[in-house]
């Protein structure tokens, strides 16, 4: 898949023909330069992503400003393309993408976010996941936050007296596993150490990264289709 994109680069060079295309190329360069210097996504891929962004936000072309994907539009992308289902997590993913907190994912934020999704190193992914899970943004994942994120993770047994008992226990198990400094909450250092020790814990509190299948499907579609346009 990557190859198809790389192969597009001669074509991109000859792009400044139409006005719209020139803008895309320009933006692509700007984004690459500004935000993604050691960018994992190659330039042609960035351009593909940008074009995809514009198909998702058609009116952005007219107004040329701070607009972009709003919460609902972004969530439908997450749901339909990356198969995410948990409302709360999707909300948090939106927040993580929306770096400037203007309730809208701009083209730059879009490319940056997807760069982590598709080409992120473990380091980047850990930072991103931690941000998603740190619900109140205080730099720690607390017991309460964990409980909140895990509360739907167990099948409710009708026989159980306290249905939350299992969740509470699960939170304690998680803390036992990940809270290295024993302060009853997870700092980034705790999280990082635990994930490095056991990669499976990267998405410990709910899926917030695309799984391999949907991300491959996405790349196939996004990079190829836009090329075909």
């Amino acid at each position: 898949m990557l190859n198809t994109c790389v192969n597009t680069s001669p074509a991109t060079r000859s792009w400044p023909r139409g006005r719209g295309r020139g803008r895309v190329a320009f933006l692509g360069q700007a984004v690459t330069r500004a935000a993604l210097c050691p960018c994992a996504v190659r330039r042609p891929e960035v351009e593909c992503l940008i074009r995809l962004f514009h198909t998702l936000v058609p009116e952005a072309g007219e107004r040329r400003g701070a607009t972009g994907l709003d919460r609902n539009a972004f969530r439908s992308v997450l749901h339909l393309t990356f198969g995410m289902t948990d409302d709360m997590i999707m909300d948090r993913v939106f927040r993580a993408f929306d770096k400037d907190n203007d309730s809208c994912v701009s083209v730059k934020e879009w490319v940056e976010g997807l760069s982590i999704f598709l080409r992120g190193t473990l380091e980047e992914k850990m930072k991103y996941c931690f941000e998603v899970y740190d619900l109140n943004g205080d730099g720690y994942i607390s017991r309460e936050e964990m409980f909140h994120m895990l509360k739907n993770s167990l099948l409710k047994q009708p026989t159980e007296e306290d249905p939350d008992e299992g969740i509470k226990d699960l939170v304690e198990i998680t803390l036992k596993k990940m809270d290295y400094d024993h302060d009853g909450k997870l700092s980034y250092a705790d999280f990082e150490k635990a994930v490095r020790d056991e990669n499976l814990l990267l998405e410990a509190f709910g899926p917030c990264l695309p799984d391999i299948k949907s991300s491959m499907a996405f790349e196939m579609q996004a990079f190829q289709e836009t090329h075909d346009l």
Binding site: S153, L155, L170, K177, A204, F205, P207
Partner: protein
């Protein structure tokens, strides 16, 4: 409730008149359920609680009028409730000790008044009112068997008129039916835990206990007798009129430490009865104790001495009811080679298989096959579990459940005695059957050691159980957390492994492998990989179809997954059935595919290339395990595995080389592989790795060379690549017995080439080193060294001189004839044959008493030993009066019988020995007496010239003697 009360509740059957409810756990729980229902009734259904029963429930109460307080009118000993029905009758009336209650409301209140006596009250109430529903709702609602139409009728009625009472009745009826269902469900749980003894199970248990009863300190009981010798055709000893109550037989048991116990065994269990009065034949049948589920449990409870001595015997036992379906025969091969060495079966496989040495002392002899008679070790476990199992087995039609198999194989040395001769016969038969297969079951069944008593389980057990619960009921997030947390336990520990299995964790883990979620699969495999070190777990994984799924995972694009799956297969495929499963599901081809690794030769592989190398390593590990089956060896070859293995053999890493060489040496038992190892130039690398730091790798290399050096060209290649030097070095400085055995094996084969001996081994002082290994305490090493010595002597220059130069060497080897190991004996006989070729040495070993030692061995039926022994005898006859000495030490007669063996090599050696022995007239007489002529005459017609000649020579000697005698007699 009606159905439960008639069907499930245990009414005393023995008594006459109105039945009483026995105090059994089942009844108690039923009563408690009913009480709970009634107590809460007026809160939950206030309207229905006020409903007046058609007839009051009436029973004899033990409650005193004094307990009634507010809400009741008390006058003297009469108590009335303040609530009255529409006719002004009190809803509750207590006169003297009779109580009448007319509504649920009053019942609930009564129960709360009764406090701790409520159980008794409920019992009394139900005993007096066998079908309470009839009294509550009217006769139309009586409990009927089969289809119950009352609800339908009621529904009709409700539809027709709007009598509020009918509606209430309907509700109550519904509620009661609900309760009934609930009670039935809970009683089902109880019943499923109950035991039903059968006459057979009782008989077996009694018979077993009898084996361990008698006078003396160590027995478990002093005596154990039936009260009646007569056994009815159904296996019961109780008189028929007691049999109807489920009683099977009565026992008088005399423990060491208490008075004799009179015991009833009934289908419900074992309990104490009233005993037999003196001079009276009748037993008092009334039950005097709790019911125990079998005799052992009962006695354990009653006699501390019994418990103590049972523990001393180091096993407990129990019988399962013998149903034909459940009887099964489990065949377990005792061969326990594992990854270790078994040299002798390579070149002389058939011979070895036939003479397989008897099991080492303390090892169960009859392990190969166990009928349903089950043994369990350690005192604590057992009976409680037994009950469970019995029930389980009765339910399961599957004859070879996993549990059973394990049990069946558990047998301690002491138990051998108890095995009946008949069983042994069967077992021998199956032994032969199992040996006819070229594959052997390396994986020994482990005795189940884990304890069933809940109190003894460590906290990990419960924690793991909880985690499994989350695995079962969690989404993928919870599952991953539970999996990661489970890995923090010490999964190498048996408690943890069995904890996972016991709560159905393996099923869940294997199910996870079938999901789409990569993380769950990885997490699950990481655990399976660890716990599959345990042989019971391995079997369960195979039983649950785990191998098929793991084979499928080998196709996954995820490299981690591939590695883990291959590693887990490597662990699980340690027994025959598993290896077959892997092959039959295309696993071998896929595993061979993993070996194909282009980045092998790279000096600095990228992380991704390193991963590919790791995949290849895991593939080799799995193939190593699989390669213990002949068909898999073939499958590996067909899948193109040999060139790939040759490629991997160039790796510099021990972790890669060990499984690769392991696989090669395993497969080198096949001629096709031996050829390929030679032609693919693998000998060079094998030789190179003899100098590895890693002893395991050295051992596999040596044993691969051992197997391949059957071929002369290969022997030369070993020499040309400088392999003899490291082999000789390994002889001198290794304490590792498997390694020594492998190295001596390799030297043995290499020494067959004269050039190897004369040029190298001799010069390297190899023979002296081999000789010193004869002092090694391990029989494998001794035998292997003695074998290796044979070709060395044969090929060395001035061998006789060399042998004499080893101080005490000849005495040492002669004394090895006192060994108990057949393989050692055979190899030493072979060595002596070679040593005796030198006359001077023959004289020395004769002085060391070789003749009587050889004669002592003559009575053997091991063909390999027979052959080498006969050769040694034949050689040793060449000196002095040894011929006469063999006759005097009674070696001749047994030798004659060797001629009846099926092995032609034995015939040849024996005929030669007899020919030598027949030079002495007394020996001729012995031979003749043992019918040698007829046997030899047959052999004269053999195509084997040496045999022919020896046989003819022997006959000639005998004939000549006969003629001489006749001449002397008749002139």
């Amino acid at each position: 409730m009606g159905v439960t009360l008639t069907r499930a509740a245990q009414w005393t059957s023995a008594g006459s008149g109105p039945g009483t409810l026995e105090i059994t756990p089942l009844n108690e729980s039923l009563l408690n359920e009913i009480i709970k229902f009634t107590e809460g009734f007026h809160y939950r259904h206030p309207q229905e609680a006020a409903f007046v029963f058609r007839e009051p429930l009436e029973w004899k109460t033990r409650l005193d009028y004094s307990v009634f307080e507010s809400g009741y009118e008390i006058s003297g000993t009469t108590v009335q409730s303040e609530d009255k029905d529409k006719d002004g009758q009190p809803l509750l009336l207590l006169t003297a000790s009779t109580i009448r209650v007319c509504s649920f409301g009053e019942l609930s209140r009564l129960l709360s008044v009764a406090t701790e006596k409520k159980l008794k009250e409920a019992q009394a109430c139900l005993e007096a009112n066998r079908d309470p529903i009839v009294k509550i709702l009217g006769p139309g609602y009586g409990t009927v068997e089969g289809e119950d139409m009352s609800m339908l009728r009621l529904l009709e009625k409700v539809k027709k008129d709007d009598d509020p009472e009918t509606e209430i009745k309907m509700k109550i009826s519904l509620l009661l039916q609900q309760l009934d269902m609930q009670l039935l469900n809970s009683s089902l749980k109880h019943i499923s835990r109950e035991v039903r003894l059968t006459p057979t199970s009782v008989k077996n248990e009694v018979d077993l206990l009898k084996h361990f009863s008698g006078k003396g300190e160590d027995t478990v009981l002093e005596s154990l007798e039936y009260t009646s010798d007569y056994e009815f055709s159904n296996g019961c000893r109780a008189p028929p009129w007691r049999q109807v109550h489920g009683e099977i037989c009565y026992l008088i048991v005399k423990p060491h430490d208490t008075n004799p116990l009179f015991i009833t065994c009934s289908t419900a269990g074992v309990f104490l009865n009233g005993g037999r009065e003196k001079e009276k034949d009748d037993i008092e049948y009334e039950r005097k104790s709790d019911i125990y589920k079998d005799l052992v449990t009962f006695l354990r409870e009653r006699s501390p001495k019994f418990l103590e001595n049972m523990a001393k015997q180091e096993y407990t036992f129990f019988e399962e009811p013998v149903h034909e379906k459940q009887q099964h025969l489990e065949i377990v091969d005792t061969e326990d080679s594992g990854q270790s060495q078994k040299f002798y079966d390579c070149s002389e496989k058939n011979v070895f298989e036939k003479m397989k040495s008897p099991p080492v002392k303390g090892k169960p002899i009859d392990k190969k096959l166990e009928p349903s008679l089950k043994w369990k070790d350690t005192g604590l476990a057992g009976s409680q579990d037994a009950a469970k199992k019995d029930i389980k087995e009765e339910k399961e039609v599957r004859p070879i459940s996993h549990e059973l198999k394990k049990k069946a194989s558990i047998i301690s040395s002491g138990s051998v005695k108890a095995q009946s001769a008949a069983k042994r016969k069967v077992s021998e038969k199956s032994e032969e059957a199992s040996e006819s297969s070229s594959e052997s079951e390396e994986d020994e069944e482990q005795p189940e050691r884990h304890q069933e008593g809940n109190t003894d389980l460590p906290s990990e057990y419960w924690q793991i159980q909880k985690l499994v619960k989350y695995l079962k009921g969690g989404n993928q997030t919870a599952t991953v957390i539970a999996l990661c947390s489970m890995r923090d336990f010490n999964l190498a520990q048996e408690t943890c492994q069995l904890a996972i299995r016991d709560v159905g964790g393996l099923e869940v883990l294997i199910n996870l492998l079938d999901t789409e979620d990569v993380k769950c699969k990885i997490g699950s495999l990481k655990i399976l990989k660890e716990i599959s070190q345990n042989s019971q777990i391995r079997r369960t994984i195979a039983d649950l179809g785990g191998l098929q799924i793991m084979v499928k995972i080998l196709d996954s694009p995820d490299k981690d997954l591939k590695c883990l799956a291959a590693e887990t297969i490597a662990n699980v495929a340690k027994f025959k059935r598993a290896r077959r499963t892997v092959r039959q599901h295309g696993g071998i081809t896929r595993l061979v595919g993993l070996l194909d690794c282009v980045s092998m030769g790279l000096a600095n592989p990228t992380p991704s290339q390193a991963k590919d190398i790791e995949i290849a390593r895991c593939g080799a590990l799995a193939l190593w395990s699989c390669s213990k089956s002949t068909k898999n060896k073939e499958a590996i070859r067909k899948a193109g595995g040999i060139p790939l293995l040759a490629q991997l053999l160039k790796s510099p890493h021990v972790s890669m080389l060990t499984p690769v060489v392991g696989t090669l040496q395993e497969c080198a038992s096949e001629p096709s592989y031996r050829l390929a190892i030679k032609t693919e130039r693998m000998i060079e690398n094998l030789v190179k790795n003899l100098s590895s730091e890693n002893q395991e790798l050295q051992m596999h290399c040596a044993s691969a060379i051992f197997k391949c050096a059957e071929d002369e060209e290969t022997r030369d290649l070993v020499r040309q690549h400088g392999g003899l030097q490291p082999l000789a070095t390994l002889l001198s400085n290794s304490e590792n017995k498997e390694l020594l055995a492998a190295v001596t094996g390799a030297i043995w084969k290499c020494a067959i080439s004269r050039e190897n001996v004369t040029k190298i081994i001799d010069r390297l002082d190899g023979v002296r080193l081999l000789w010193s290994l004869l002092k090694n305490p391990h029989p494998d090493v001794q035998a292997s060294a003695a074998w290796a010595i044979c070709p060395c002597i044969e090929n060395a220059k001035d061998a006789g001189e060399m042998v004499r130069s080893f101080v005490g060497g000849l005495e040492l080897i002669v004394n090895l004839l006192k060994s108990e190991h057949k393989e050692v004996l055979a190899s030493v006989c072979a060595a002596i044959t070679n040593i005796a070729k030198d006359e001077e040495n023959l004289a020395v070993i004769t002085d060391h008493g070789v003749v009587p030692l050889l004669s002592r061995l003559a009575n053997t039926n091991n063909d390999k030993l027979r052959r080498h022994l006969a050769e040694a005898v034949s050689r040793c006859c060449m000196w002095g009066s040894n011929r006469i000495a063999f006759g005097e030490t009674k070696a001749v007669a047994p030798l004659v019988h060797y001629l009846k063996s099926d092995d032609t090599a034995v015939h040849r050696a024996t005929a030669q020995a007899l020919y030598q022995l027949s030079e002495d007239p007394n020996n001729c007489i012995t031979m003749h007496e043992n019918g040698v002529v007829k046997l030899l005459l047959g052999m004269v017609g053999s195509t084997d010239e040496i045999l022919q000649e020896a046989a003819a020579g022997c006959i000639a000697n005998i004939r000549r003697l006969a003629l001489a005698t006749e001449k002397a007699k008749y002139g």
